[in-house]
C-alpha cells in the first residue's frame, strides 16, 4: 500500500537555509546540504528546497546546493522558487532535482506547465499554489508569496493545472500558513476532490497531531512543513510514529 509522505521544506536564500517570520527578520539556520542529510536520517520521504534568493544572478547558488545534496541524499528532491522558463526547469533537473515546483510563473504563464510536462514528463512538474478564502468554501489564487490576488477561483485553477499535465499539486493555504493551528482541511478536501493527481498539504502544521489529522480528514497524499522541523520542535520520525499509531500507512 502506498505510504503517506512527510516532506520537510527548506527555505534557502543565497545558499543558506533561512527561516523568515512574516517575510521580515529572516535568520540563517544552517547549511542546506547538512539539513537535507539530517532530514533523510530522520526518515523524510522527500525534501523540498524553496529558493527565496531575490536576484536572478543568485540562482546558480541553489543549483550548487542541489548538486551537492544529490550526491549524498538518495530520496527525491524538489526545487521551487524562481522557476520561470523551460530552461530553468532543465537546469534544475540536470543539477539533480527530481521535480520542480512552479508557482507564480505558472499562474502568469500556464503554458509553462504544459511545456514542462511534455518535455520532461508530468512526474517532475509539481505546481505550487497559494490560496486564500474569499467566502465559505470559496478560495482564490495568489501569487508573489501570497501578496497578489489573481482573482482566479482555486477549484478552476487546480482542474486546469491537472489538464495541462501537472504531476502533483502542493497546496498552501495563506489563511493557515504561520498560524500553526493545523492544515486548512476544508480547502484541502475541496482540492483533493476536484483532481485525481496527488495533493500535498502545506501551511499550518503546528503540532504533532496536525499531520495525522490531514490524512484522516482528507485523501491528501503528503504533508509538508518547514519551521516545525527547522526549529527541531518535531522530528520527521515523531510525526510518522504518531501517524502510525493512528492507523495511517507511513514508511
Amino acid at each position: 500500500m502506498l505510504a503517506k509522505r512527510i516532506i520537510p521544506c527548506l527555505d534557502v536564500r543565497d545558499g543558506k537555509v533561512v527561516k523568515g517570520v512574516n517575510f521580515e527578520g529572516i535568520k540563517e539556520v544552517g547549511d542546506p546540504v547538512e539539513c537535507a542529510a539530517e532530514y533523510d536520517r530522520q526518515g523524510a520521504d522527500e525534501i523540498v528546497f524553496y529558493d527565496i534568493t531575490a536576484s536572478h544572478e543568485g540562482r546558480g547558488v541553489i543549483l550548487d546546493v542541489v548538486r551537492e545534496t544529490a550526491k549524498k541524499v538518495f530520496v527525491p528532491l524538489t526545487v521551487g522558487g524562481g522557476i520561470a522558463t523551460v530552461d530553468d526547469i532543465r537546469e534544475t533537473l540536470r543539477a539533480g532535482a527530481d521535480k520542480v515546483s512552479v508557482n507564480s510563473q505558472a499562474v502568469k504563464n500556464p503554458q509553462l506547465i504544459k511545456d514542462g510536462a511534455d518535455i520532461f514528463g508530468s512526474q517532475c512538474i509539481c505546481v505550487g499554489i497559494d490560496a486564500k478564502a474569499v467566502a465559505p468554501n470559496k478560495w482564490t489564487v495568489y501569487i508573489n508569496g501570497g501578496r497578489i490576488d489573481m482573482k482566479i477561483d482555486l477549484i478552476d485553477w487546480v482542474k486546469r493545472v491537472e489538464q495541462l499535465g501537472a504531476g502533483e499539486i502542493c497546496l498552501n493555504s495563506i489563511d493557515t500558513d504561520g498560524v500553526r493551528g493545523g492544515f486548512d482541511i476544508p480547502m484541502l478536501k475541496a482540492v483533493v476532490d476536484a483532481v485525481s493527481i496527488p495533493v500535498i498539504a502545506s501551511g499550518g502544521a503546528g503540532k504533532l497531531g496536525d499531520f495525522a489529522d490531514a490524512f484522516l480528514k482528507t485523501d491528501c497524499s503528503a504533508a509538508l512543513a518547514a519551521s516545525l522541523f527547522h526549529f527541531k520542535e518535531l522530528t520527521v520520525g515523531q510525526v510518522k510514529a504518531d501517524c502510525r499509531s493512528k492507523g495511517i500507512n507511513v514508511r
Binding site: 502506498l2 509522505r5 527525491p76 540536470r94 539533480g96 502533483e168 497524499s221 514508511r251
Partner: protein, 200 residues
Amino acid sequence: MIAIIDYGAGNIFSVKNALDHLGIDNKLTSDKAELESADSLILPGVGAFPAAMEMLRKSGLVDTIKEQAKIKPLLGICLGMQLLLERSYEFGECEGLGLIKGYVDRIDEPGLVIPHMGWNKLNFRQSCPLFNGLDESYVYFVHSYKAFCSDSSSLFADCEYGSSVAAVIGDGKKVFGCQFHPEKSGETGLTMLRNFASLA
C-alpha cells in the same frame, strides 16, 4: 564497469550519483564499444514510452542492447524497465525491446490517484539476487503506466496500488527491471544497486 546508457532520456545523473556513492565504477555512455566492453548495463529513463524508444532507436543502440543482454546483466529502471517489454499502449501501440514477455498499459482503476507517486512496500514473489540482504521494504515509485508480464515467472516482486503493480521483473537470466527508482529509495535502493553490480 557499469555502463549507464545515455540516450537522452531521464535523470541519469541520479543513477550515477548513487553508483559513485557506493564506490561502483560506472560511466554514462552512448558508445556501442563501451556497452560491449562494460561488465553490466543500466537502462534508465523517465517520460513517455514512444519518445524514449524513438531516442533509443536514433542512438543506434537497440541491437547492441539486445545482444549484450544475453551475455551480461542488464537493469532497466522505471521507464527503462518498461522498455524491456514487448510493447506499450502509451499514446497508441509502440514496440519495445522485447527482452521480457508482456506489455505496458495505463494504471486504470476508478478512484485511484495517478501518477502512482511515493513510497510503496514490496512483496517478494520469488527469490531474486537483487533482494540479497533485504526485507520487503518501501521503495520510491513515480509512474502512470505499469507492466503486465505474460509469464508469472517474470515477476519477482510487486506492490499493491489498486491491484498488483509489477515492481521487479526479469527474464530469469540476466535481464532485470525495476519500476521504482532504486537511486531514490534510500538504503533499500542502494543495496539493490550494490546487489546488481555484484552480478557481473
